[in-house]
Symmetry: C2
Subunit: 249 residues, 2 copies
């Protein structure tokens, strides 16, 4: 960072060529299961293995690179209404020497929450991409198993104290749909009554539209009231996961 010490101590061998890539952990919920977007690698290294979508950063902000990669891999383009509601945040940066066998690659990972998106359509990069339930997304290329694990933990934690869960559902949703998001991400059932009470008691989490669903649930039940996301950025009080003693130590 300091030009003088940079020039004084500069040795090309100390600073081998570094490439910066952006990888995306894109999560969505399909059929009540938490799924991640994966691509099939066509070239070495790790040919045939699955990996997180990603690519080299160009002369653009890192966030923009993540959106671009997500757009290219899903075949969806910003401006068509699909990618607008995607929540995107930086996850972590991975830069161990040797994590890419070709060269020094520093990878900035992003975490994305998407409402249920259509299966990526054939054509361009997107043909190689598909949604996979997270528990089946193992044995990924590079250090992507670790990246995915970090992303899942971040997602589970985010749901506790931010309204990010609304990014997984449409603009209008029922409390039951929101509960299914929490159940899918946390991997455990939630008490419907308590969840209902807590969501409505958090100021700014959801606001009523005054409407209800056209019909009851698929397997019966009354018409549910519809809500949209409120203006809160943090949940007070938070919706805490059922305590798991093994997470604590």
């Amino acid at each position: 960072m300091d030009e003088a010490s940079f020039l004084a101590g500069y040795d090309p061998r100390d600073y081998p060529a570094v490439a910066v890539t952006v990888d995306v952990v894109a999560l969505t919920i399909r059929d009540g299961r938490l799924c991640v977007l994966l691509v099939e690698r066509g070239a070495q290294p790790f040919a045939g293995r699955r990996a997180l979508p990603g690519g080299f950063a160009r002369d653009e902000p890192l966030d923009a690179a993540a959106i671009r990669e997500l757009s290219e891999e899903t075949g969806l383009t910003p401006g068509e209404g699909h990618l607008e509601r995607v929540h995107l945040e930086q996850l972590k940066t991975y830069g161990d020497p040797g994590r890419d066998p070709r060269m020094r690659v520093v990878s900035v990972a992003y975490l994305a929450f998407a409402p249920s998106l259509p299966e990526p359509t054939a054509g361009s990069d997107a043909a190689r991409a598909y949604w996979v339930p997270v528990e089946e997304a193992t044995d990924l290329a590079f250090d992507h198993d670790e990246v995915l694990a970090d992303g899942l933990e971040r997602a589970r934690s985010k749901l506790e104290y931010t309204p990010s869960a609304t990014a997984f559902v449409g603009t209008e949703f029922t409390i039951g749909e929101l509960r299914q998001v929490y159940a899918a991400v946390w991997g455990e059932e939630l008490h419907a009554g308590n969840f209902h009470r807590k969501v409505l008691s958090v100021p700014g989490f959801v606001e009523s539209t005054g409407e209800t669903t056209a019909r009851g649930g698929e397997r019966g039940g009354p018409k549910a009231k519809l809500y949209r996301a409120g203006d809160a950025r943090l949940l007070h009080p938070a919706l805490l996961r059922p305590t798991r003693e093994d997470r604590v130590r």
Copy 2:
């Protein structure tokens, strides 16, 4: 990430030379005030301005680069017992084009919590480094104002649900010292009685040494019991900041 598409779409103009640096937001508490380690820049750009300590990543893990930079800037070396107790975690990566006027620089920022360290001694890089109360650390070089702000928010949040506060004090400490850490980082006084009750009620946060301080507080009071950090990695229940409505929206 994919070699085929990499080679097919490769254009040197798309991928200008990228440098990867590591910057550190090192926090400590001196005289009850939260302080950050800054360096005085000697060269252009931003000559004479203050900046966060940092430098170019070498062929090493990013974490190791952060430790190395911190060691070089403070004059303390790992293995002498000073840097061992420093808590270090990755904060965020900053990569906007133009954030460094010389070239494309992607900077991985780290956050460090240190117990009260001696003032960096003269010699080598460390002569330019000193601790500054965070509220006086303004008008920094590059985008370091933003990095510092992100680091402070992360630190305040970390104290809520992890035992990181113990990284700011010695191996043995009193509940009162721990409370002063929270007060300094959060910038508000805490109810001593409630804080005492909550800290002791969180399993694994602190464990008693059975000892007490040799004498009472500086301005009187009984001898305080001594504690050391427990084995918890997360605090359940968490020590939440007093709710601030303006943080929520």
